[in-house]
Assembly symmetry: C2
Homo-oligomer: 233 residues x 2
């Protein structure tokens, strides 16, 4: 995935970030740079750089004479891929997964509709290939192969929408899908109906049928939501 620990400050972040997003330090908690530097056995310079990054994510706020105070969760940059990963690794993973899936259910249908009118021939071919790949890995405990094509499928559609904001949600979708396969209860084989829907979405996009692509994609995301309801009502 992403390079863990590109430098000492990155190592520090890999510990501090998850700790903060996990609520280990409640909002308003005050940390001191020097104390943190000692705790992590790094120089103040390194700790300052780490704090700066946390600050840019709005996880903390640095004020003179006070220290580094933890900000309430409502202020966090929850779209930062790093923050998303930290939170998905934490305790409220289910809630996080649900939020992200709801976001998917809002974005992906619209993205699919746009893809139906904007996708190039190459993109259509790639999307179709992914759908075929999903079918090929839909039976016989080939979950890893299925996941790979599933992620690529949704990422391609988001990209083909031509909207950069949508395109950048590819990472989010990947996290959600990977999480479902790896951490949550996943039925031995994917739902055949879902596989069919993916094939049909590919069809609709290829044919330039925006409305159909949108509705079919909505069915997929609603299925994902129902799946979550079953696991954690």
């Amino acid at each position: 995935m992403t390079t863990p620990g590109r430098g000492l400050h990155g190592r520090v972040l890999d510990t501090l970030g998850p700790a903060i997003t996990a609520g280990e330090y409640p909002p308003g908690s005050v940390l001191r740079t020097d104390e943190l530097a000692q705790r992590f056995e790094v120089s103040r310079s390194v700790m300052r750089e780490a704090v700066r990054v946390l600050e840019s994510m709005h996880l903390v706020e640095s004020r003179r004479r006070v220290g580094v105070t933890v900000r309430p969760a409502a202020a966090w940059n929850v779209y930062d891929p790093q923050v998303i990963r930290w939170r998905l690794a934490g305790a409220d993973r289910p809630r996080q997964l649900r939020s992200l899936t709801v976001l998917r259910s809002a974005v992906e249908p619209v993205a699919a509709a746009l893809a139906a009118t904007h996708a190039t021939a190459e993109q259509c071919a790639a999307i179709t290939e992914c759908a075929i790949g999903m079918v090929a890995h839909s039976r016989g405990h080939k979950l890893e192969g299925y996941l790979l094509h599933d992620v690529a499928f949704h990422r391609l559609i988001l990209t083909a929408s031509g909207n950069e904001m949508f395109a950048r949600l590819g990472d989010v979708v990947e996290e959600v899908l990977a999480g479902r396969t790896h951490h949550e209860v996943m039925f031995d084989d994917p739902d055949p109906a879902a596989v069919t829907l993916h094939v049909q979405v590919a069809e609709a996009i290829r044919e330039g049928d925006a409305t159909r692509a949108e509705h079919l994609t909505r069915e997929i995301t609603e299925g994902a939501l129902k799946e979550l309801d079953i696991l954690a009502p």
Copy 2:
């Protein structure tokens, strides 16, 4: 808005960030920390902190023996409020505004539907108040007052949806709406039809009619898209 220049490194970012997002340094461009420190007349420590922040936004990548290389736009954290502000201040503001409006058109209808079933009585009251405020400022060149209520209206709905990912898009909506009022051509008074739609959305949410809230909100966002088409086809 946000505090401009919380420290020297912030001052540097206020210049470097917009420059990079504006494409002033094409992808692959190499900057050197020391050179930048000299150019901005700050110490290396300060410049390093600034670079760390840019790195956390995926605007640049810092590698030994190479320098600080500018990453392609596709890698940028376009959901970072700071990045959004920088890009909106730059040359491709129209494209950016369009991307964000498309995002709104995907998210807000779903958020409104959720708000219809999740909003508390207090939230319903606040939303209604905003709609009333919009009506009150809809005639006679009261654009600032109108904007204020418009922003609050959409922000409240996003919050009332109960989904934190939606809630955090309040800043985005504010930027878009503020941009429309301040920088783009804005008709002297807002479209009466749009004002009515807002009132009706408030109604639907109050009555718990999710489907109606969703459809009405979709009309609002589609109107916003059409407005953009007129300005920049």
